[in-house]
């Protein structure tokens, strides 16, 4: 059987007396976009660092391509790309020069650099100094650094954090295109719409623990009790009640009395599920 792209089993990590990851286990299949969702400080970046061998864990196992994350060699590192939100860019160098440094390390030719710039829409900014790039362009340059090496597995840590919706959408398209080519993407985000749109499978973590795991659709189905009927009444007020077997009588009565103007259903989404599980909003 082919090894999973990424697997984590009972990972525990503490900083001093503070336990930031507590028994994290999951498997990421090849060719899927896996989402790790959680509010800021939930332990997402720490988990990426452990999975990519940047940080030691206190217990558990972490594997990439069937290899222990602790024993990854320089050559192994070249098989996956990491884009961390805080990875720096050489401000004084232009976009092309920024990529050229890493191209030299990974043995990527000039065409590879230009293709990566084109892929993220920076081909016209190749001679622009990194200091002059907008936040969105800087994110794209970081992505180009990862795409340039054409890895099988991509770790993307909050790639659209702080970006405007149009730029975020462009980055989503790039990610979906990479998935289409069979790449595995490990995505951390605190934007539920992003996870719903892109991910095949997600894990929600809160305070270092997994609170839910599954596909976005499965998770939402599990919380079907959150489905509500929202009715706008003729007097301008709104009423809301659970969308269950008793709802039809209430709706029929309101319609019969001529009081119901519009009827909407509200479905559970990852945000409301997370709220129910933790009492917190995801986008914190």
């Amino acid at each position: 059987m082919e090894a999973a792209a990424i697997s984590a089993s009972n990972i525990v990590k503490s900083f001093g007396s503070k336990r930031v990851l507590d028994g994290i286990s999951f498997t990421v299949r090849r060719g899927q976009i896996f989402g790790l969702l959680g509010p800021s400080g939930a332990g997402k970046t720490t988990l990426i660092k452990i999975l990519t061998g940047q940080l030691d864990r206190n217990a558990g196992t972490a594997e990439i391509n069937g290899l222990d994350a602790d024993k990854l060699t320089g050559e192994d590192n070249k098989k996956f790309g990491i884009m961390m939100d805080n990875f720096g860019i050489y401000e004084r160098l232009n976009c092309y020069e920024n990529l050229k440094i890493f191209a030299e390390i990974y043995g990527v030719k000039k065409d590879g650099i230009l293709n990566a710039l084109k892929k993220v829409g920076l081909e016209n900014a190749k001679k622009t100094s990194a200091a002059k790039l907008s936040k969105g362009m800087r994110s794209r340059l970081r992505l180009a650094r990862v795409f340039m090496i054409d890895p099988d597995i991509l770790f993307l840590d909050e790639p659209t954090s702080g970006l405007d919706p149009a730029t975020a959408d462009e980055i989503h398209k790039i990610m979906l295109a990479e998935k289409g080519k069979g790449k595995t993407i490990f995505l951390t985000t605190h934007t539920m719409s992003e996870a719903e749109k892109l991910c095949n499978d997600i894990v929600m973590i809160n305070e270092g623990k997994i609170v839910e795991h599954g596909s976005p659709q499965e998770i939402c189905r599990r919380y079907n009790h959150q489905r509500m009927l929202k009715i706008h009444l003729s007097d301008g007020s709104d009423i809301q009640f659970p969308h269950n077997e008793n709802a039809s009588d209430k709706v029929a009565e309101l319609i019969k009395n001529g009081r119901a103007e519009t009827i909407h259903t509200t479905e559970p989404n990852l945000e409301t599920v997370f709220m129910e599980l933790t009492g917190k909003e995801l986008a914190v």
Partner: protein
């Protein structure tokens, strides 16, 4: 080798656009050329300014460049990106160190020309200045590694650099300073450069420079063990 070449290339590209670092390589040789040609005082030792600024150059440029480059990369998280791209800490340090060493040796060639060294004197000059540059780089690397950011690095580099670099000059005017400065590698390099026409290096100088190197190595190792390169 590929990784070392990549970091070296990065350093060349970056320094050309980094005036703060680039000026460090040019400032002392230019000042020395100007002073040697513009100031002529009776009874002044031969090539006084060239030898004086050569020692200052050894004490200041490698130290400040090394600490500035490392601390900036740490602060801006570019170092982390390099480390995650399979560049090992020693490869990074060797690349940056080699780059600064070459740039400083190019600067030192100006001093060698100004001092009109030839033959054995030139060999001693090259050997002493090269070793001095490596020692200053070691101190700069220790500061860069120990410091959290550029601001912290500058606040440590500046006093250390001033004390080491100015003590050979101040020791000309004060016996107490001369005695204290005698235990530093820069004072010993200054002594060697000033007596270079005799083509001799005293055993005392060699021992003191070696001891300074050992102390530098210990400080560097301690900083690396405590903070690492990221």
């Amino acid at each position: 080798m590929k990784n070392i070449k990549a970091v070296f290339m990065k350093q060349i590209l970056d320094t050309i656009k980094n005036k703060t670092v680039f000026i460090q390589f040019l400032m002392f040789p230019i000042i020395a050329v100007i002073m040697e040609n513009a100031v002529k005082i009776e009874d002044m030792p031969e090539h006084f300014f060239a030898k004086l600024f050569a020692v200052m150059f050894i004490g200041m440029s490698p130290l400040s460049c090394m600490s500035a480059i490392i601390s900036e990369e740490k602060e801006k998280n570019t170092l982390r990106a390099l480390m995650m791209s399979s560049v090992k800490p020693w490869q990074y340090l060797v690349s940056v160190g080699a780059y600064i060493f070459i740039m400083c040796m190019v600067g030192m060639s100006v001093f060698a020309v100004l001092c009109e060294h030839k033959g054995k004197a030139l060999t001693i000059f090259i050997f002493c200045t090269a070793f001095g540059i490596i020692l200053s780089e070691l101190a700069g690397a220790a500061i860069g590694i120990f410091s959290k950011n550029q601001m912290a690095a500058t606040s440590l580099t500046l006093p250390i650099m001033m004390i080491f670099s100015f003590s050979p000059m101040l020791s000309m005017f004060n016996e107490t300073i001369k005695k204290i400065a005698g235990i530093t590698y820069l004072q010993q390099i200054s002594n060697i450069l000033n007596g270079i026409v005799m083509s001799e290096i005293s055993a005392k100088s060699v021992v003191i420079i070696a001891a300074n190197f050992a102390v530098g190595l210990v400080l560097f190792t301690a900083a690396y063990k405590k903070k690492g390169l990221e």
